[in-house]
Amino acid sequence: MQRAEWSFEAIGAPWRISTPGEISDATRDAVTARIDAFDAVYSRFRADSLVTRIAEAPGTWSFPRDAAPLFSLYRSLYTATEGAMSPLVGARLENLGYDRDYTLQARNEAVDVPAWDDIMQWDGSRLTTSAPVLVDVGAAGKGYLVDLVAEVLRDGGVDEYLVDASGDLLHHGDEPVRVGLEHPLDPDQAIGVCELQNASICASATNRRAWGDGLHHILDATTGEPTSTVTATWAVASSGLVADGLATALFFAAAPALSVDFTFDYVRMFPDSRVEYSRTFPGELFT
């Protein structure tokens, strides 16, 4: 049974870590430092971040070691979704109003989302860009950060935990947790329950981070427009990185195309309240 809970605010959202015992101050400091280090590289909401510098001028940029799995995942999903899920939607998101100042007002002139190979090359540790480009890892970054925080917990001797980064979860331990699948149209309701154990579940929905007139944060990079065919997704995988990335990719590709490279369970909900889910989904859907 989880006994201790540590709640804090990070990357603009509330987090909660549940553990059998209190987490030591040293480990808490290490968690906070890890999150700060990640944010300093990948946050497009920070004026001093690496991705903000990359958006200012072309060049070759060295990334920390944690970047390799992230870029690798993005490349796999970019391919599997035929370019629809891309880290290059950043400028278009700003253009639509989802910017550092949260103006939430779409500009009149549209910007195109560049094709990956036209504008940047990733060699495993360095990114070379041929033009200023705003990299946005929002589709998988939070799930990945959950993994990185769990790594710090394990380094600190904590091996049973539930990390909850505002709805993106990673569990490790002998006792599974029951996780409600929040109804995308009504946070007081759930459409099912997932039995989560030694795995991550991440969710994505078009209607939450939405700012009117069909504008939300999940963009189809091939059109530059918010996608509308799927309302919400949940993906269960062994890591937060993969679960979070797949939760977004499932807006653009059906499960079989993604199952070539990844092992996962999933739920997709459509605008007409239909749900589609994997037969092996660990839990129950209310149908």
Binding site: P14, G180, E182, P184, S204, R208, R279
Partner: protein
Amino acid sequence: MNIPLTTLKSRTARTAFVAFAGLSVVGTLAGCSAAATTGSAGSGTSGSSSNGSTSSGSGATTSSSTASYKDGTYSAPGSYVSPGGNEQIKVTLTLAKNIITAMDVVTVHADPTATGYEKQFEGGISAVTVGKNINTLNIGVVAGSSLTSQGFNKALATIKADAKS
């Protein structure tokens, strides 16, 4: 509606596609019949029929255009590339004395993100969901996106307030 197979070829553009789909389905059924004769279950079957008969889908005796077909209702999936992308269709047609007496073409996927693989995905289950009140469920955590960035939520609240004033 009684449409002899041979007249299908001379229709207008939209119908010409239907003719193509219909003919390719017949070709598919011919393939099924080969499988059926070797003991496999025929997949080109349908339980409904406008004339009351139900075919096993093994009716095509040959695959040539001069073939005679067993009466019954046949159903088969197909696909084609429309200006909007790849579309999955399901074609159902009823044959009586080598004449198509009824034909129905429906687009299987209203969801453009679906691919032809989807139907083959063994694990996929589709159903209509009904939400349950979270308080009635024995759950400790929720996977969802209601707790999004607080900066975002504040900005949205401000904009809504501005819009009202």
